[in-house]
């Protein structure tokens, strides 16, 4: 059996559905094959990610771009297979690179999709982190023209950053004294009120630029405050 055949069995192996005979065969092969071991690790990571985030998949900032990238990868794999070029033995690295078939197995494509999704989410968090806030340096809004997202989409994205930093704050809260906890909660409720009020306004008037700006400001303030207190 070659690597391709073993990799076809990896999914069942990771899911615990492989027969004992297949399991023994695949495990023996994987122990001696670095490539298949990597594919197996990718599968394990994907399954673990899906189990950890069951039913909690957040939309990535630009789903269409993500799927286009995946689609391009698959197309590249197909066209690579069709236009395979014989590489001369003395060919340089550029020739090999440009004429590479870029054959990717399904696990690799799936792993790439997960990685893109994870990096896109992290990117969203860092955008929130880098936004002018707290110091009050700017007050620009996040109008639909800027990034093509609706207010709800933008709100949902920002909530991912909020959830991330909130988790870190909750871990540290036990160390805080009572006064600090009360101060933090009281101030956070002021920002939450601003978020809720502007969301209410936007539901009544979805194109209200004042409410959009306030929502944007308040969400940035919230992330900034959480971030600051997550360091305590």
């Amino acid at each position: 059996m070659n690597c391709e055949k073993y990799q076809d069995l990896l999914s069942d192996l990771v899911d615990g559905l492989a027969s004992s005979e297949d399991r023994a065969s695949v495990e023996a092969h994987v122990n001696g094959c670095v490539v298949c071991a990597e594919v197996r690790d990718d599968f394990v990571a994907i399954v673990a990610f899906c189990q950890d985030h069951r039913g909690e998949y957040d939309a990535v900032p630009n789903e269409r771009a993500l799927w286009l990238r995946i689609s391009n990868t698959i197309e590249a794999e197909d066209s690579g297979a069709r236009t395979k070029v014989n590489v001369p033995s003395g060919a340089g690295w550029w020739f090999r690179l440009m004429n590479s078939s870029w054959q990717l197995s399904f696990p690799k494509v799936a792993a790439a999709a997960v990685m893109i999704a994870v990096f896109a989410s992290l990117g969203t968090m860092f955008i929130g982190k880098m936004s002018p806030q707290g110091g009050g340096v700017a007050t620009q809004g996040f109008g639909p023209v800027m990034n093509g997202l609706s207010v709800d989409d933008r709100y949902r994205q920002q909530q991912q950053a909020v959830a991330y930093w909130n988790q870190r704050v909750e871990l540290n809260k036990a160390r805080w004294n009572q006064q600090m906890r009360e101060t933090f909660d009281r101030n956070m409720s002021v920002i939450d009120a601003a978020v809720n009020d502007s969301m209410t306004q936007l539901r009544q008037n979805p194109h209200d630029p004042v409410s959009e700006d306030i929502l944007n400001d308040a969400l940035n303030d919230k992330v900034a405050l959480l971030k600051e207190f997550s360091e305590l």
């Binding site: 502007s198 306030i214 207190f229």
Partner: protein
């Protein structure tokens, strides 16, 4: 000489019981002071000497106070120096030359800055505390808190940038009659009182939740945002 004195002082760490410490640092006229406090009052005043005097009152002996020299001035990072420690309130009184820039930040407590004529005045309170900036004539001023009032009494320089933001508190700006600025003031409460600076050319947006318009020559940029409070303009 400045470096030697400052370095020798910077290297010392004062970890003593509740106490009041005063230290002087040589400084040029355009020095920049950065203070990042955890909790407590910060008061900044100017004087005629070319030096910075810092007086710190500390609640606890565990507090570390370790000023650091930078190319442009002095940095006091109480947050960084006391990470993971409960140091209670630290109250600062700072005296420095009028041409200084000050960048002040605390998680809670009051900030008061008087008579600064330098490039920058920044006062940021992460949570609760009032900000009072009086006699200010700086090219860039930023004052932000979450709960608390903000009061500014000063002048806007042509081409300068001024931002004031509070989550819950009143913002009051007291300005000379001849000042010129381009204003964006936002208050969901619709309580924006322009006083003598109002004129019919100003534009109301969002049913009065925002006012945009030029006052005088409109050369300074002024942004005022208040989520749950009033914005008031007064003439000196």
């Amino acid at each position: 000489m400045f470096s030697i004195i400052l370095t020798s002082i910077s290297s010392s760490v004062f970890a003593q019981s509740q106490q009041r410490l005063s230290r002087n640092f040589p400084a040029g006229k355009n020095v920049r002071l950065e203070l990042r406090n955890i909790s407590g009052t910060i008061t900044v005043e100017t004087w005629a000497k070319d030096e910075i005097r810092i007086t710190a009152e500390m609640d606890t002996r565990k507090a570390t106070f370790n000023p650091r020299q930078t190319e442009s001035g002095l940095v006091i990072d109480i947050v960084g120096d006391n990470r993971g420690k409960d140091v209670g309130d630290m109250n600062f009184k700072i005296q420095l030359p009028a041409r200084s820039s000050v960048d002040l930040e605390t998680r809670s407590g009051q900030i008061s800055v008087n008579n600064i004529q330098g490039e920058l005045v920044r006062a940021h309170i992460w949570t609760s505390g009032d900000i009072v900036l009086s006699g200010i004539n700086a090219a860039r001023v930023f004052a932000t808190n979450t709960i608390g009032d903000i009061f500014f009494d000063g002048e806007f320089a042509s081409g300068g940038t001024y931002e004031f933001k509070s989550g819950k508190g009143n913002i009051t700006l007291r300005l000379p009659a001849n000042c010129g600025f381009r204003l964006v003031a936002t208050a969901p409460t619709k309580e924006i009182k322009m006083g003598p600076f109002w004129h019919p050319g100003m534009k109301l947006m969002g049913e009065g939740r925002r006012i945009i318009g030029d006052v005088g020559d409109g050369r300074a940029s002024v942004t005022v945002t208040d989520y749950q409070g009033n914005i008031n303009f007064l003439r000196r």
